[in-house]
């Protein structure tokens, strides 16, 4: 019998530890904040869980969250250590022609933000939910990326986020966690930057990497330039 990992299953469990840790990555226990337990080794996941439980014991007494945060970050970093599928020995470099305080700065993120009423409707599906999106990672990975334009006057209430690849809770709670429009507007008002290019841009980073590298990235650069960008901050999730 195949064990699905469903916690409502009261039959004797034959689930292995590998099945358990893998179930957090688009499985029966999907949790995108801990999906890395599948990417790393079994020892990493086991050690992490043991340490997490130990630190939880301390947390309930001293209320100090910092050790748990550090433990999570370190485990995530170890799980994703090493190069990915793309390696380049060097890359283009362009010096800024004027100080950043005199430059119009664009913002582009891979977070999957968009404006309410202007949903990119992936795969032609209207009102795709976050939960539905997490079941479509293969489709997103093959599809062309779509760049959403977010006017910098867009209110937080009219900003939406959906992404099949990461835990969106923090970004949905406060867009400035990963799409810092409010802070960039303030920095422009204060003269820290010469201007904040409108619109800001966002797309779902889980996408066809080859299409992005070979064609679409250059098209987006042209769009940013047309919007007046002299420099850019890029924020991946």
């Amino acid at each position: 019998m195949t064990n699905t990992g469903n916690r409502s299953n009261h039959e004797p469990s034959k689930e292995t530890f590998d099945e358990f840790r893998n179930s957090f990555s688009y499985g029966s226990r999907t949790d995108l904040f801990f999906k890395w337990m599948k990417s790393g080794s079994a020892d990493l996941a086991a050690g992490f869980l043991q340490e997490l439980l130990d630190l939880t014991g301390h947390l309930i007494d001293d209320g100090d969250t910092r050790p748990i945060v550090e433990t999570i970050i370190n485990a995530q970093a170890e799980a994703y250590a090493g190069p990915g599928s793309f390696e380049y020995e060097d890359g283009p470099f362009t010096k800024l022609d004027q100080p950043v305080s005199e430059s119009r700065v664009a913002l582009l993120t891979t977070t999957g933000h968009f404006v309410k009423g202007n949903d990119p409707n992936p795969f032609g599906i209207e009102n795709l939910t976050q939960e539905q999106a997490t079941t479509m990672t293969a489709e997103f990975g093959r599809a062309d990326p779509v760049l959403s334009e977010i006017p910098t006057t867009t209110s937080a209430a009219n900003t939406r986020v959906r992404h099949a690849g990461y835990d969106i809770r923090a970004s949905a709670s406060d867009r400035n966690v990963s799409l810092p429009i409010d802070r960039m507007n303030e920095l422009a008002d204060e003269g820290v930057i010469g201007g904040f290019v409108s619109p800001a841009f966002s797309f779902v980073g889980l996408t066809s990497q080859l299409r992005l590298r070979n064609e679409i990235g250059f098209e987006w650069a042209a769009r940013a330039k047309a919007a007046g960008a002299q420099a850019a901050l890029l924020i991946p999730i």
């Binding site: 890359g91 891979t110 820290v192 250059f218 890029l234 991946p236």
Partner: protein, 91 residues
């Protein structure tokens, strides 16, 4: 990896850029030789700050912007010193 492709395309098009990202993905991004990277000591999904940590958001963005002014060569990677702070913060 997406951001590495965008960073290279923007830079090649004459738009100097700085990536602000969690250090969790440092190796994968660094392997793509992006022009400038500011790493934050933050968990996945929270590259700039915890929700409503406005002070951190401002500090991280200013550090990223300063990198645009200061970097003299591609592949410049620095780490933002202050660790992730958990809330709650006022909003």
């Amino acid at each position: 990896m997406s951001v590495g492709h965008v960073a290279r395309a923007f830079e090649a098009a004459g738009i100097p850029n700085a990536i602000i990202m969690s250090k969790v993905f440092r190796d994968r991004t660094a392997a793509m030789s992006p022009p400038r990277v500011l790493l934050t000591r933050h968990p996945m999904g929270r590259p700039v700050s915890a929700p409503f940590d406005v002070e951190k958001q401002r500090g991280v963005l200013k550090a990223g912007l300063e990198l645009l002014d200061s970097a003299t060569e591609g592949g410049t990677i620095i780490e933002y010193e202050k660790p992730y702070r958990t809330g709650p913060f006022d909003n």
